[in-house]
Amino acid sequence: MGESRFFRSPEHVVQELARHGYICPRGVGTTVFLAHQMGKPILVEGPAGVGKTELAKALSMAMDRELIRLQCYEGLDENKALYEWEYAKQLLYTQLLKEKIGELLCGTHTLSEALDKLRSHESLFFSEGFLLPRPLLRAIRADSPTVLLIDEVDKADPEFEAFLLEVLSDFQVTVPEIGTLRAKHIPMVILTSNNTRELADTLRRRCLHVFMDYPTPEQEREIIRARIPDVPPRLLAQVVSFVQNLRKMDMRKPPSIGETLDWARALVLLSAEQLDPGLVEQTLNFILKHQEDLRRTREDIHRLTRQAIAG
């Protein structure tokens, strides 16, 4: 695990992430920096669409590491997350063994001699060759360090959390038939949660914690500029102010950063220089996906657009 430490300081993290189009507040930089130094997982919480998953992607780019993603869902178990035996291959192998067994055992005279001979081959049956690595094992066994994203961990069952805990605390996995597999490199682990279910305290304790909220207007402008450099400044300011105002209203699904980016892209494609009510009306479905939200916003579209233009 003698890899050189990639990040020099919290600022360095922020700069490196920004170089790859990911703008984040200093606090996130500090957590990433410390997690990297201390070899600890990061738990990122916050509403949907604030860029929790993007953080992992940006990190993998900034650190030039492979991103291994484990998407959690209800019913996710060890077999899907860690490893599985390749039954079919094993079966084939036994069949092969059946055919070859005569050849193999010819020349042996007693039963114990035959068994001894067999035993020298038997261990093959449960060997790494038949092991189908799933994301967790892949991250642990990878030859170069990786970024491991465990996305929406709150969607998985509580039992899975307990199991994760075990893996994340010593970065080693015990396969009963083989033994303990240790990490060649400690991966950079990012867990995300929308808090649909309460995570256990034990998991929280093991991680460094970040709460991500929607960005401030300044941050959001910077994010859009980083991704869509050719956006006209006036349009940019208006788009951000419009979206920020929507988030202050009580929406079923407030616009995410990704949706804001899509909207801005669409407006640039339409060669808009600034917002007007008609344009907003036509393109509103880029940022609002819920019927109820759309209806309420449409009713008020003139005022909201005026407000956004006034800044």
Binding site: G27, T31, G46, R204, H209, F211
Partner: protein, 460 residues
């Protein structure tokens, strides 16, 4: 530094933020990686290692300010932009002229050396065991003790002598008044600093007491006597309770909900192994969710109990097929739609004020039951749980308990929660004992603990 961090963590714990020893050690490790003197990063490092829930963030900020904000900055009394002390570079020269020797404190005061004075003040605070101060009435005596530990009074005498000596020598008489002025400012500065230090300790203690000791008892606090602030805290408590309840349900579910082997799916899944079943597929039992109809008395005597019942019910509403809620005093009004349109707390406030009923009238359980029978009996079936929350005080009006009898036969469970102590039931105009005879379950429900115990029974 370590001592300061441990003290900080103690404050967090007292304030109800759980911090383990492991996390404390993490925070110390983290601090070893960050540059010294960068306060923002220092704070972020502590936050990310010690505070693992967004809802504790504000408390963290407050407690951090109490512990680590420097004495010289902020807490702005006066706030004329100047620090507490005036630097006096010529002090040393003046001192040499007189040939006197001064104690370290007097020297620091003469030179106006802020950082040094701050260190001395902190040291004195430790020696005077300022941490043990419990009440603002003790402020004076602790200030005096700190001054004694500092050698404040001796230093004052020394400086007096110094001024006298300079006046006697008096080669530059015009320099004496400014010197006196500086010494006065620095003395006042030191006194202000000591006062702030004492204040901070008091605040820390106050902050911890407020949260740490009020919250456990909140569970047992009677619904009768709640302040606005406590209602807010109670809501947070309800949210935590709901979270725990859900976790419990999920755990029980997982254990008991596995059904029989699903042969078809198992065979299909294992085709790759010639139908040798390496992997089993089980049927999932469906939890039969029930519908809940909650009837809440919102007359002034019991509305707090109703409030938190609704609060808790809606926090766990995904455990039920449907929750319908009604409020009543002398008439019955359905408020389900409030909860469909608004977030629970807003809906509850509205339900307590704006349902289509007269709020300021006398409770009339009899009429309300009749109304329920007339309008809603058609919706009651064998999956419905009816929960009535009220004290059963009927102002000696007809009780019409036969409705309850009929209701119990129609529904799965008929439950009555009474926010009055059990001993009061049946006294005066309380028709509780009569009603109780017809219910499946009757519970006293005076505080959050009883409420949560009940709800746990309900969903498990």
């Amino acid at each position: 530094m370590d001592a300061a961090i441990i003290e900080f963590v103690e404050s967090l714990r007292l304030a109800g933020i759980p911090v383990t020893t492991g996390e404390l050690m993490d925070s110390m490790e983290a601090l070893s990686f960050i540059p010294f003197g960068d306060k923002e990063t220092f704070k972020e490092a502590l936050r990310t290692t010690l505070v693992k829930r967004a809802e504790h963030s504000d408390q963290f900020e407050r407690i951090f300010a109490l512990h680590f904000c420097h004495l010289e900055e902020e807490k702005g009394e006066g706030g004329d932009g100047e620090g507490l002390f005036v630097r006096f570079l010529d002090g040393q020269r003046a001192l040499e002229k007189t040939g006197l020797s001064l104690s370290p404190l007097a020297k620091a005061l003469l030179g106006g050396e802020g950082p040094l004075l701050e260190r001395m003040a902190l040291q004195a605070a430790r020696e005077a065991s300022l941490k043990e101060m419990e009440h603002s009435l003790q402020l004076g005596s602790y200030l005096r003790r700190m001054k004694e530990k500092l050698g404040f009074f001796e230093a004052m005498k020394e400086l007096e002598t110094l001024v006298q000596r300079l006046e006697e020598q008096s080669s530059e008489p015009q320099s004496i008044p400014p010197l006196k002025n500086i010494l006065r400012r620095n003395r006042e500065g030191l006194e202000t600093m000591l006062r702030r230090l004492a204040r901070i300790h008091l605040d820390r203690r106050g902050e911890s007491w407020r949260r740490g000791f009020s919250s456990p008892s909140l569970l047992d606090k009677s619904f009768w006597s709640l302040t606005e602030e406590e209602i807010g805290e109670m809501r947070r408590e309800v949210a935590i309770l709901a979270r725990k309840l859900k976790l419990k349900v999920a755990q029980v579910d997982r254990r008991s909900m596995r059904g029989r082997l699903n042969t078809r799916k198992t065979l299909r899944r294992n085709l790759g192994t010639e139908g040798v079943p390496f992997e089993m597929v089980f049927r999932q039992k469906k939890r039969k969710k029930s519908q809940v109809m909650a009837l809440c008395d919102v007359s002034s005597s019991v509305w707090n109990a109703s409030r938190f019942m609704l609060n808790l019910l809606y926090a766990i509403q995904d455990q039920f097929d449907r929750v319908r809620s009604f409020v009543f005093v002398s008439e019955l009004g359905e408020v389900t739609s409030f909860f469909e349109r608004m977030e629970p707390n807003e809906a509850i406030e509205k339900a307590l004020k704006e349902a289509p009923i007269r709020y300021h009238s006398y409770s009339d359980y009899g009429d309300v039951l009749l109304e329920f029978q007339r309008k809603y009996f058609k919706d009651v079936n064998s999956r419905t749980m009816v929960i009535i929350i009220g004290d059963g005080r009927n102002n000696y009006l007809p009780t019409r308990s036969f409705v309850l009898e009929e209701l119990r036969e129609r529904c799965r469970k008929l439950i009555w929660l009474n926010p009055e102590p059990r001993t009061m039931w049946g006294t005066g105009d309380s028709a509780m004992l009569e009603y109780a005879a017809f219910c499946t379950l009757v519970e006293e429900c005076r505080n959050l603990r009883q409420l949560s115990n009940f709800v746990e029974k309900l969903i498990l």
